[in-house]
């Protein structure tokens, strides 16, 4: 007969098991508890940057409108007093560079904070886009350098090639194309490489005559990008670009649309075959 363990022994076993469980918990907690720093904090900073920028713009626009408001009052009074109406103040169409510059600096500081991680990429993109608006060549080149060197292996670079394609005027067309080429040659991600090809050829696809060698070459490259891409959006974009020039033109048969209406009820464009249809791509902005 197996003797029953003494009460004190049972307690010791339970205490040992509890200690072991605590040890397991403490040594593994860093792997399954959410980190204090990480994507959520970077996201919050990106959201804060966007919000601060929008608020700056709103304040500036309000100040511009107030100038006009004040002038209208002064003009009304001058007229009533039989005096010369003062000239209307010039309204700026774009905000002063300083307003945007301070947010570009915030983006750069955040990019530095997350240096070497994917979290830095949205901040570099921000500096690229908004740095170009204020013709800050240095900021644009710094962001482009970081994106195409430190982050060249990242899968998060899909938006970068197209953004770089808009930088030609500021940093020189050759330099912008060199950055895009670097992404195309060095990214290990098919969709990123496809985006780089599209950034290179979209202009020719949209602008050159469909009978020209330039268009045919661009089309071949775009189809190569669509072939390598895994993203349905990239494939559809290429199809749309080519269709837009070759098939969605006067005299061609329109593709059917199979979709849902604003109440999510299914219907098709071909339901209206036999009628004249005005198809209106619209939004309420």
């Amino acid at each position: 007969m197996i003797p029953e363990p003494k009460k004190s022994e049972t307690f010791e076993v339970k205490r040992t098991i509890a200690s072991l469980l605590c040890a397991v918990f403490l040594t593994t907690a860093t792997t399954w508890l959410p980190a204090q720093e990480g994507p959520s904090t970077a996201k919050a900073k990106l959201d804060a940057l966007e919000k601060a920028y929008k608020e700056s713009m709103a304040t500036w626009q309000k100040e511009e409108r107030a100038k006009i408001g004040s002038w209208k009052e002064a003009a009304k009074k001058a007229k009533a007093d039989g005096k010369d109406v003062p000239s209307m103040p010039a309204m700026r169409m774009t905000p002063p560079k300083a307003i945007i510059a301070k947010h570009v600096k915030t983006a750069q500081a955040n990019a530095l904070e997350y240096a070497g991680t994917d979290d830095a990429i949205p901040f570099h993109l921000w500096a690229l886009r908004y740095g170009s608006r204020i013709h800050d060549k240095e900021a644009v080149i710094a962001a482009a350098d970081a994106l195409t060197s430190t982050h060249i292996k990242s899968s998060k670079l899909e938006e970068v090639p197209l953004t770089l394609s808009y930088m030609g005027r500021l940093i020189g067309q050759d330099k912008a194309e060199a950055y895009i080429h670097k992404i195309e040659m060095n990214s290990p991600h098919a969709d990123v490489r496809a985006r780089a090809i599209l950034a290179r050829v979209t202009n020719a696809l949209q602008e050159k005559s469909v009978d020209s060698m330039a268009y045919k070459g661009a089309k071949e490259e775009a189809l190569r990008a669509a072939g390598m891409a895994t993203s349905a959006a990239i494939k559809a974009e290429v199809k749309g670009l080519i269709d837009g020039r070759e098939n969605l033109v006067m005299g061609k048969v329109a593709p059917d649309i199979v979709g849902v209406d604003l109440d999510s009820t299914a219907f098709k464009l071909s339901d209206y075959k036999g009628k004249i249809v005005m198809l209106d791509f619209w939004g309420d902005w």
Binding site: G240, R245, V249, V253, I257, L279, F281
Partner: protein, 107 residues
């Protein structure tokens, strides 16, 4: 443009014509409220319904909004552009031609 389109839909009532929208707004509640408030009496596709990987505007290579396409009774494209007045003129011309064709067939 809403007034012109509403006017066209009313003018073309009981005639072989349909105005069909492709709406880009992602907030369905908001756009339904606008449709109701502004009395937009035509049906619209959602451009990118939930779960879709490709939008209608991508398939149709729409680069600018609004874009208007006029399609005839055989689904051939007869106008594509951004000029609402030109589109409406083309619509009226095509509806008239179609009605004459239908009349001659005794339809």
């Amino acid at each position: 443009m809403y007034d012109h389109e509403r006017s066209l839909v009313n003018e073309m009532k009981n005639r072989p014509f349909a105005l069909v929208g492709v709406n880009s707004d992602k907030n369905l509640e908001k756009i339904r409220a606008i449709v109701k408030k502004k009395n937009l009496i035509w049906r619209s596709f959602q451009n990118s319904p939930k779960g879709s990987k490709v939008s209608i505007s991508q398939t149709w290579a729409v680069k600018g909004w609004p874009t208007i396409v006029v399609i005839d009774e055989n689904m051939r494209i007869r106008y594509r552009g951004h000029n609402g007045n030109m589109a409406i003129t083309k619509v009226k011309e095509l509806v008239k031609q179609l009605e004459a064709k239908n009349d001659s067939k005794g339809l």
